[in-house]
């Protein structure tokens, strides 16, 4: 054989061996079976999009045989697209974040992850450990009627953000004590919140450093639906309330009694809505403001307090008018002591054509490492007990000081399939009551009747 041919054959043989070694190394690195390959489409709510992009990059580095395409979709579009796709079974997405309150609607189209894991033990990541998820997060963002429809992706709940510098100001404290007869502290009840809001509203107190006391949002969007629970929760979850209304179902939430009737059609519901009405004069345009506007009001120093979701912290931390943020912005429990849950799950489409890779990615994006990383890098609240108890996590953010207590006491919206319609009629009625066009008793009674009709009872 001529020498050049020998060299050629040797070269080819070496290349083949090198390729085989690389492939073996790749599989070993990924630690996943060869069927984990191809492209997966991930739909994500914008709030979690940066974290998801980051996780996708890391996943593709660890699993080079999988390509992850991340598409951020706004809340309204995301829900509609998920519902459309799971109804049609087209498999347009493989993995998607879903809001806890849409659990009942999307459940049937989602893969049962626990069952899938049992059938594919080789696809379970080491240390996946579902028992490490916070129990409430797991119950709301992981399960629907016993089926494991997702892994909790991030926690979301409402905090009371307040102007720490104003609440610590000795002059203001003295003025407040003179006017109301007690100390100016972060309000722990809505009654005290009313006094504080009045005090910080310039129309009522010309020496107030802020123009308004509190930023509330009651527009014709789902915002009003969850805001109501901040006021109804203290009644519903009080000892008397629990005795009167009965236990709270994770599926039906705090809006319902233990025997699944609307709980707000009661003196407690009326009292809750009257509390809201008492606060409206101290809030800038409460019926015309939504999430973005109220964040802006607080970030620009227009108001002294704002009940807002966890993600708002990032805006406040960077707001020019609130610097230095650690001295000017405080985080506390919602007055009345009951926030509202808004967690997000990460599910796999039952019609996905690439379920192994999708299942693997869903685990990867909710792993202990990812949970901590999402919080430290992107501020998304953790869902795992190990992360919640991590000293580095606890020290990183003032929200963490109250998060545990908030999660344990927070209220829940219904997660049943009829939720969107219940929500829409409720929001219409609530805003009409707040506008004064309907009396609270009458409005809540009508609403309860409409709900009963929608639920077919």
């Amino acid at each position: 054989m001529p020498a050049y041919r020998v060299r050629y054959v040797r070269g080819v043989a070496l290349a083949v061996v090198a390729l085989a070694l690389c492939a073996a190394a790749g599989v070993a690195l990924a630690g996943a079976p060869s069927r984990v390959a191809g492209t997966i489409n991930v739909w994500v709510v914008p709030e979690g999009a940066d974290a998801m992009h980051d996780l996708a990059q890391a996943f593709m580095r660890d699993y080079p045989s999988v390509r992850v395409q991340v598409t951020p979709l706004s809340w309204e579009i995301l829900y509609a697209r998920i519902l459309q796709d799971v109804s049609a079974g087209t498999g347009a997405f493989d993995v998607a974040t879903w809001d806890v309150m849409t659990a009942g609607s999307v459940a049937r189209g989602m893969l049962d992850l626990e069952q899938f894991g049992r059938q594919n033990p080789d696809l379970i990541l080491p240390g996946h450990d579902p028992s490490d998820f916070d129990p409430v997060a797991w119950r709301t963002a992981g399960l629907w009627e016993g089926k494991n429809i997702g892994f909790p992706f991030y926690l979301n709940t409402m905090f009371l953000y307040y102007r720490k510098d104003l609440f610590n100001d000795p002059n203001l404290k003295s003025q407040f004590r003179q006017k109301y007869g007690y100390e100016l502290v972060v309000p722990d009840t809505w009654g005290k919140a009313r006094d504080v809001s009045e005090f910080f509203t310039r129309r009522n107190n010309p020496s107030s450093p802020t123009e308004y006391g509190i930023a509330l949002m009651f527009p014709r969007t789902h915002t009003t639906f969850y805001e109501f629970l901040l006021f109804f929760g203290p009644y519903r979850r009080s000892d008397a309330g629990m005795k009167k209304f009965g236990p709270i179902s994770f599926e039906y939430g705090d809006y319902f009694t233990g025997d699944l009737k609307p709980a707000f059609d009661s003196p407690e519901g009326v009292a809750a809505i009257n509390t809201i009405k008492s606060l409206l004069p101290f809030s800038p345009d409460p019926l015309g403001s939504d999430y973005g506007e109220t964040i802006e009001y607080f970030a620009r120093g227009l108001v002294a307090m704002v009940p807002q979701w966890g993600a708002a912290w990032a805006s406040f931390k960077a707001a020019e008018a609130l610097q230095p943020a650690d001295q000017r912005v405080g985080v506390a429990l919602i007055p009345g002591g009951h926030s509202v849950s808004g967690n997000w799950g990460l599910g796999v489409n039952a019609s996905s054509r690439n379920q192994p890779a999708a299942f693997l990615f869903a685990q990867y994006a909710t792993s202990k490492v990812a949970d901590k990383g999402k919080f430290l890098k992107f501020g998304l609240l953790p869902t795992r007990t190990s992360t919640l108890n991590d000293p580095q996590v606890k020290a990183a953010d003032p929200r963490m000081a109250v998060l545990g207590q908030i999660v344990a006491t927070q209220t829940h919206r219904p997660r049943i399939p009829e939720e969107p319609r219940l929500e829409d009629v409720a929001v219409g009625t609530f805003t009409e009551i707040l506008l004064g066009s309907v009396a609270p008793e009458q409005g809540l009674r009508q609403l309860a009747q409409e709900w009963t009709k929608i639920l077919g009872r």
Partner: protein, 325 residues
């Protein structure tokens, strides 16, 4: 040659210079294979377009018609069940639907009237004005802005605390208006946004109409001693009438379907104050409800109302005579 039919009627043989007899298929009462083949070819040529249109319009329309008779809610995961006219009955008992119809009617009456008036005034004022080309171009800008972008802009403009609209009003001593939180002002806000965006369309059509008025007619009227006002009311306006009615109908159809501005600016609120019927259908069918059956029934009712309105206008205004169709 005088008694001969024109060459085109008898068909001249190409280059022969001699008349060729008509093909058999064109003779009355005679059908031939060629004619059938021509007819088939014609149908084959048109078929893709017909199929395309059928797939895009007839099928969805038929589906909507059928679904309007069913209880079909995607969110509930229950299979469709026949309901007969139940969805239509529900539409008449639905409080939010009633509010939505009412707002749609108010919106149509107010916005279209203002648009017609402003569009006409602008067209008259700009006609023959110096720099009319520039003014005309500038006036068309709102129409070129996508409604969603316009909606975002108006939401910012109407912001209670930091919005430029309230700022401008404050210069005149007017206290802040809750453009998005007060039912009356939210409605006004939607009308303002629609007028801003679509007055240019009315202006454009009427301006073109004014320009097409024959100069001789204007000159003749002037010679007869007509004043500027008389020229406008007694010469130009009567000639513009057909166009005015066409614009009126087009704008009415468009306003009744108004959705995007409402979605972006008020989300139908406060309460249900700015729900247009189109917006409500979107919510029922695609956003908060996924009630395909009920949304279909509402859509068909909307279609019926719009068709009735347009037909009444066409008959009432004798548009067929005016436009010659």
């Amino acid at each position: 040659m005088a008694g001969k039919p024109p060459a085109s009627a008898i068909g001249l043989g190409r280059g022969s210079g001699q008349p060729t007899p008509l093909p058999e298929a064109r003779r009355p009462g005679v059908t031939t294979t060629l004619a059938r083949r021509q007819s088939r070819t014609a149908w084959l040529m048109v078929a893709p377009l017909v199929l395309y249109l059928a797939a895009l319009t007839l099928y969805p329309f038929g589906y909507m018609l059928v679904m309007s008779l069913f209880r079909y809610d995607l969110a509930s995961w229950e299979p469709p069940s026949f309901l007969g006219l139940g969805n239509y009955q529900a539409a008449f008992a639905d409080r939010t639907a009633a509010v939505s119809w009412r707002f749609t009617a108010v919106l149509a009456a107010a916005a279209v009237s203002i648009e017609l008036l402003l569009g006409f005034l602008l067209a008259v004022l700009i006609l023959d004005a110096r720099g009319e080309r520039w003014i005309r171009s500038a006036l068309l800008v709102p129409m070129a802005v996508p409604p969603v972008v316009a909606g975002v802009a108006w939401k910012m403009l109407f912001n209670y605390q930091y919005g430029p609209v309230n700022w401008v009003l404050s210069l005149f001593g007017v206290s802040r208006v809750s453009w998005l939180g007060d039912p009356f002002w939210a409605g006004v806000g939607i009308i303002v946004a629609d007028v801003w965006q679509w007055t240019p369309f009315v202006f454009l059509v009427l301006y073109a109409g004014l320009q097409s008025v024959p100069d001789e007619l204007i000159e003749a009227a002037r010679v007869d001693g007509a004043s500027t006002g008389q020229l406008l009311w007694q010469v130009r306006l009567p000639l513009l009438r057909p166009l005015l009615w066409v614009v009126l109908i087009l704008r009415l159809i468009d306003v009744v379907k108004l959705f995007d501005i409402i979605y972006m600016v008020t989300f139908g609120g406060p309460g249900s104050a700015t729900h247009s019927i189109s917006y409500y259908i979107y919510k029922v069918g695609l956003s908060y409800g996924w009630d395909v059956g009920y949304a279909s029934a509402l859509s068909l009712l909307l279609l019926a109302v719009v068709s009735l309105l347009v037909n009444l206008l066409i008959r009432g205004l004798r548009l067929r005579e005016l436009l010659g169709f």
